[in-house]
């Protein structure tokens, strides 16, 4: 018999099904995902890594204003999308480009925010992906609202709400978990703990035993997983999604991962951490370990490798082709979308800008 408290607390150690050497470990509560899921996930990881590295290169070429990379966190990115059904919702942050693309959103539309031709480029209702949130944790309460609306309508939608370790210090993180718990909203709060909020390490954000432990304060079950083990993440997130869908209320999952690169290309990580802190994490790379496991299990055929490489090449080409040309922008659009019907004052200002542009052209 476990007590209510024990049911809310996370596992003693982060759930890990495949270790950094690619060795399989049994777990009393979680099963290894199917071979098909692991192979599909491997392809997505390779593709996700290529998206990160190609986008970073495009920043250096001046084609993106900035790119907060999830290099090294691809297992979290891929798992967050893979466990969702078509009708479910995803609430991503600015660092979650890979998971958005993995959910099926066009990569060029996904990068609109970072390219700078609009604040968000994709149709949120096409794949049920909310716009990427920049203000930390503010999207988490929206996720609760979407989930609650689904419940009121009798739909079995689950909402996956993403944030990082720094965002768990924000008031909205607390309010979202509390509201979700009180309304029994089917939300999976998925925290990618990558160790840093720009320069500030987790030790300066919280002294809680783990972020997953924060769930108990709201009556939300917390669980933690090795954030670089796709198999463990699929198992833990999959179970959290199932529980939320079954009416058990919100779930909190923390992934222990690491931001191996700087916050963005504009950041200088040497000012706040030593290289030797990064090195051990390179050995824990999510792709290497899955590759090692699939190889040893005889699942990594040349065919699969080719499939992964083709997907990666295709998406990289898509990014270069889509982002190299200068995007066309329309200054009229600055006034079009604020209201269903623009106010008379906005109509006047649009006319002013139109005249100014006409004079410049004349």
């Amino acid at each position: 018999m476990t007590t209510v408290e024990e049911q809310l607390l996370p596992s003693k150690e982060p759930v890990r099904l495949i270790d950094q050497d690619g060795v399989l470990h049994d777990h009393s509560s979680y099963q290894l995902p199917t071979q098909q899921a692991l192979v599909d996930g491997y392809v997505e990881l390779i593709k996700g890594r290529r998206i990160n590295d190609q986008a970073s290169a495009l920043v250096r070429q001046g084609r993106l204003a900035v790119y907060p990379s999830s290099h090294g966190q691809e297992a979290c990115q891929v798992a967050a999308s893979m466990v969702l059904a078509d009708g479910d919702w995803l609430f991503p942050t600015y660092r979650d480009t890979v998971t958005i693309v993995s959910r099926g959103v066009d990569p060029i539309e996904t990068l609109t925010l970072l390219r700078g031709d609009w604040h968000s480029g994709y149709d949120p209702y096409a794949r049920n992906v909310a716009p990427q949130s920049t203000p930390l944790a503010t999207q988490l309460t929206h996720a609760v609202g979407v989930a609650h609306a689904a419940r009121l309508k009798g739909e079995d939608t689950v909402v996956m709400a993403l944030c990082g370790d720094g965002a768990t210090s924000e008031g909205d993180f607390h309010e979202a978990l509390n509201f979700a718990a009180v309304f029994k909203a089917p939300v999976v709060f998925f925290v990618q703990n990558n160790g840093f909020a720009i320069s500030v390490p987790l030790s300066k954000q919280t002294v809680a035993p783990s972020i997953a432990h924060k769930g108990i304060g709201y009556g939300v079950p917390g669980e933690r997983a090795d954030g670089n083990d796709l198999a463990g993440l699929l198992a833990v997130l999959g179970q959290a999604v199932d529980k939320a869908r079954a009416g058990e209320g919100p779930q909190l999952v923390e992934a222990h991962t690491y931001r191996v690169q700087a916050h963005t290309n504009a950041d200088d990580a040497t000012r706040y951490r030593q290289d030797d802190e990064v090195t051990p994490w390179l050995a824990k790379d999510p792709i290497k370990r899955l590759e090692a496991y699939l190889s040893s299990a005889g699942l990594l055929s040349d065919d699969i490798k080719r499939r992964a490489e083709d997907a990666a090449t295709r998406v990289a080409q898509q990014l270069r082709d889509g982002l190299m040309p200068e995007p066309s922008v329309d200054p009229e659009e600055l006034f079009t979308h604020l209201y269903a019907v623009p106010t008379p004052q906005l109509a006047e200002q649009a006319a002013f800008l139109r005249d100014e542009l006409a004079r410049e052209e004349a």
Binding site: S120, P124, P131, T138, A143, G145, V182, H337, Y339, A340
Partner: protein
Amino acid sequence: MTHQKISMAQALNQALRDAMTADDSVLMFGEDVGALGGVFRITDGLTAEFGEDRCFDTPLAESGIVGMAIGLAMNGMRPVVEMQFDAFGYPAFEQIVSHVAKMRNRTRGRIALPMVIRMPYAGGIGGVEHHCDSSEGYYAHTPGLTVVAPSTVADAYTLLRRAIEWPDPVVFMEPKKLYWAKEEVDLTEPAPGIGTAVVRREGADATLIAYGPSVPVAMEAAEAAAAEGRELTVVDLRSVVPFDDETVCAAVRRTGRAVVVAEASGFASVSSEIVARVTERCFHSLAAPVRRVTGFDIPYPPPKLEKFQLPGVDRILDAVDDLQWEDS
């Protein structure tokens, strides 16, 4: 029962009841709005009539309330939330400014947020600190929000119904000192919607421009001025955003003189915006600079001192007297 004598609080309650009856997607939630019916009883009886799913209490956290409303609106609902008092809305400020106001623009119109943030506001009720702020300026300054402030019982009903049907988020400022004043009204009568100001009183000599709690004060001042032989027009803005330049400027051009009356501190305020707009548009019709009667630039005073802060009839009449009549 077309004609009835009811208070603004009852009219707002009726508007919510009728909106919830007309449209199943309308939800009402916030702090103490369930069994209690709200601290001002605006949601009285709604939970009993429509059930816990339609009108409900939330945990005590304004950012969470507005954030959840955003998600509900994204997923097909028309949420109406209550910020218990003007100053209690500040924890939700980030949600309002960064998301409520920007979501439609951010997504090129793909996500609309049809939602209403009801906010009992302004002073004159002897409230202690944090219960009497005139916070409309913050919201009016934020592109993407619609800001409405009724001044009559009939308008409270009409404007709240229109706000709930509005395709965009509305910050609905309810002048709490007018909650209990009763008027004979016919709620079935058609009335102008959001974005239209109305002339409450016609007079040839000068125009008083007011909204929300300042309208009855302006009307009283106009009565007093008439007794002294000066006829004043009173324009009630009804909505601060969108701003009805046409009605306001037509009145000012007719009268050639104007005074703006508002409870909020005057510095960098809605009242200063009105003066700027009127001056830019009506300069050649003006016989005198546009004057303002506003709250001082101080935090809202404690109850025993609030009478010094509120624009009153005497200050308005003094401002009217100062409109350089000797030159005309």
